[in-house]
């Protein structure tokens, strides 16, 4: 059985004070196995971050409606009480956030922010807690950890801050780590280091990792299984190699094609996806991606397309007219972390 099994998860905001309801996550299903790295990929606004917050139980109680199931170790996270979730968070499931500066408390020393989780879940206090905290900082590659414990977030560099956050996340050896765009706010070289660190931790500890990103470079370097999200629904779900070799959904296809390539002939124009995520239609009416799609036909507008495995294809896709032609992605074929992290943003 999978460690985390998300089944038809939906998150709806609003509906109170006469506000219009909006569905951020619309029936998302995926599994994460022990030791597996699963990617949730999509543009900002596609519902990937909301998914992670829903799993952590960190969405506000008011004005949010949850649907479906999310079984962690057989227990549904969505119906757990806040008390149960508090026991679980940080200990069984930990999370790393996007912006390390704003995610650290500016007026509390780093050391306290690490030791507080050790005290909460491992009962460590005083000197043993400080020792363990220093060890954790050392583990995530922060030099001179004992001194750093007394420092405040603003005294650390961006990469250091993200390392400190990772140290907090792995402090209690959680079984599932959720990383929400952990490298977006960092410099490219630092991005590669952080990804390498995550990969190392996953390999050594056997932690499962749910990687939320818009960066296909990160996916190529890290993920075993990839789910592509569009407007709150999974539109394609595949093994990493499968996805990069044969992306079938026009959106996934477009994402891969839009990556600039070093080996492209000089002067060849870039191939962005047209429009933005705001140019969409309701899933109930048809494919939300249709307004931006190069392949769409009138059939695309007859209700929600199903997530199926088309004939002669190796994985699931939610599309009436799946793309059959492969993408040339020379730089991304080799899943080498350092190279792809560069590749994802600047190649």
């Amino acid at each position: 059985m999978a460690l985390l099994s998300v089944d038809e998860l939906s998150v709806t905001f609003g509906g109170v004070h006469g506000r219009k309801e909006s569905t951020a996550v619309d029936g998302v299903s995926f599994d994460v196995d022990q030791g597996q790295v699963v990617g949730l990929v999509g543009e900002s606004g596609c519902g990937k971050s909301v998914t992670s917050l829903a799993l952590m139980g960190l969405l506000p109680g008011k004005g949010v409606k949850l649907g479906g199931r999310a079984d962690f170790d057989g227990n549904n996270l969505l119906t757990m009480s806040q008390r149960e979730l508090r026991e679980m968070r940080g200990k069984e499931i930990a999370m790393i956030f996007q912006d390390p500066l704003s995610s650290l408390n500016p007026v509390v020393p780093i050391g306290v922010q690490v030791t507080e989780i050790l005290q909460r879940h491992r009962g460590l206090k005083g000197e043993p807690a400080r020792k363990e905290a220093a060890h954790l900082l050392d583990r995530v590659g922060i030099p001179d950890p004992t001194r750093r414990l007394k420092e405040y977030p603003h005294q650390l560099s961006g990469g250091m801050r993200q390392r400190a956050l990772i140290a907090m996340a792995v402090a209690c050896a959680p079984r599932l780590l959720i990383a929400d765009e952990p490298t977006t706010a960092l410099d490219v070289t630092i991005q590669a280091q952080i990804l390498e660190l995550l990969k190392e931790l996953v390999d050594e500890e056997g932690t499962a990792l749910l990687m939320i990103t818009h960066d296909l470079g990160v996916v190529a370097g890290l993920c075993d299984q990839v789910n592509v999200l569009y407007a709150g629904k999974v539109v394609e779900s595949a093994d990493r190699h499968e996805l990069f070799a044969h992306p079938m959904h026009p959106y996934a296809h477009g994402l891969l094609e839009s990556i600039p390539r070093l080996d492209a002939p000089r002067g060849e124009p870039l191939k962005p996806i047209r429009g933005s995520i705001n140019d969409r239609i309701a899933w109930a009416d048809g494919c939300a991606f249709a307004p931006r799609c190069d392949y769409y036909t009138i059939e695309c507008l007859t209700g929600t397309p199903a997530l199926t495995v088309p004939a002669a294809a190796g994985h699931q896709v939610r599309c009436v007219n799946p793309v059959r032609e492969p993408v040339e992605i020379a730089t991304l074929e080799t899943p080498d972390v350092t190279a792809t992290a560069h590749g994802g943003t600047s190649a």
Binding site: N278, R280, I281, A282, D285, G286, P291, I298
Partner: protein
């Protein structure tokens, strides 16, 4: 693909896309106004203010009796502590000199509004001029400008260090006791508040990218200030002006209480009425309650509207 199916396709698509479109194009002000209309605070505040203004305008005409004439002076005995409470003829009862309280209340609204508006305007206009000079000097004046700004801000610091009531009392002491003095005294207290607010707001706007863009395009500095920075800096000032109306009315009442108000007590004004009534509070508390409630509700109205405006204009609170 035939032309007709293609047309149908596009039409259907446009139709479906339109359904999902959000109203993101509205300007800050239009958006703020839209939010104001749905805010309960703003509606209550607006209704109270409207009622107050109507009373101030028509009050003297609809007052059933003369607010100044000592019509029933023979029915009030101060030395015996005998006062006349509400009755058919005099809805709010009589004051200590036998005048009709209801008429005085109605007529007094006009003076109260006058004091509030004039003192707020004194603070607003002078404060805004100082604020604009300081803000413009600080954002675009270079090193010399920053020096000007520092000096001006030090002066407002000094003014802020003085308790407003004492500052007002000192001004009243120099200028003698009159209604004008009250308005100037209350207004002067507001000057540093407006000046600092506008300067701060201009500084915040001055560091925005669009100002940098305008500068790099070689647009004249004065023009940048007038056409770019100033219009975008005004919203906190407008909010403060509304809130200041409330403060001004309360502060004017406090000055009256300290004996610095209008020297002609026959002219009805809520603050003056309240301070006169406090002497007889133990025997006739209602005499103080009517003008006090008038002041509180009016001040509340302006405060509610101001706060609602602040919320409506704050992009952080927009949802």
């Amino acid at each position: 693909m035939t032309t007709s199916t293609k047309a149908a396709k596009i039409e259907r698509l446009a139709e479906l896309t339109a359904q999902n479109e959000t109203s993101s194009g509205a300007s800050l002000w239009r958006e703020a106004f839209r939010r104001l209309k749905t805010s309960k605070m703003a509606i209550i505040g607006g209704v109270v203010i409207a009622a107050f203004i109507v009373m101030a305008v028509v009050g003297p005409w609809v007052a059933p009796h003369s607010p100044k004439a000592l019509t029933w002076k023979d029915e009030v005995f101060l030395n015996r502590g005998e006062f006349v409470g509400p009755r058919g003829e005099n809805w709010f009862g009589l004051d200590h000199l036998g005048r009709d309280m209801f008429s005085r209340f109605l007529v007094g609204a006009r003076q109260t509004l006058l004091v509030g508006v004039v003192s707020m305007l004194i603070g607003l206009i002078i404060g805004a001029v100082i604020g604009v000079v300081s803000g413009a000097a600080a954002t675009l004046g270079g090193a010399a400008g920053r020096r000007v700004d520092t000096v001006v801000m030090r002066i407002t610091d000094i003014m802020l260090a003085l308790p407003s009531l004492l500052l007002a009392a000192s001004i009243a002491a120099v200028m003698g006791q009159s209604l004008t003095t009250v308005m100037i005294a209350v207004g002067v207290v507001q000057i540093p508040i407006f000046a600092r607010l506008l300067r701060g707001s201009m500084l915040a706007q001055g560091s925005k990218d669009y100002v940098l863009a305008a500068k790099s395009l070689g647009i004249r500095k004065r023009r940048i200030v007038v056409t770019q920075i100033l219009p975008n800096s005004l919203s906190p000032v407008i909010v403060q002006a509304t809130l200041s109306l409330a403060t001004a009315i309360i502060e004017a009442a406090a000055l009256s209480y300290l004996g610095l108000g209008n020297p002609d007590p026959s002219v009805p004004e809520w603050g003056v009425m309240l301070s006169q009534a406090q002497r007889f509070f133990d025997n006739a508390p209602m005499m103080a309650v009517y003008p006090a409630v008038g002041i509180i509700i009016t001040a509340l109205g302006f405060t509610l509207l101001g706060e609602a405006m602040r919320e409506a204009l704050d992009p952080k609170l927009r949802g």
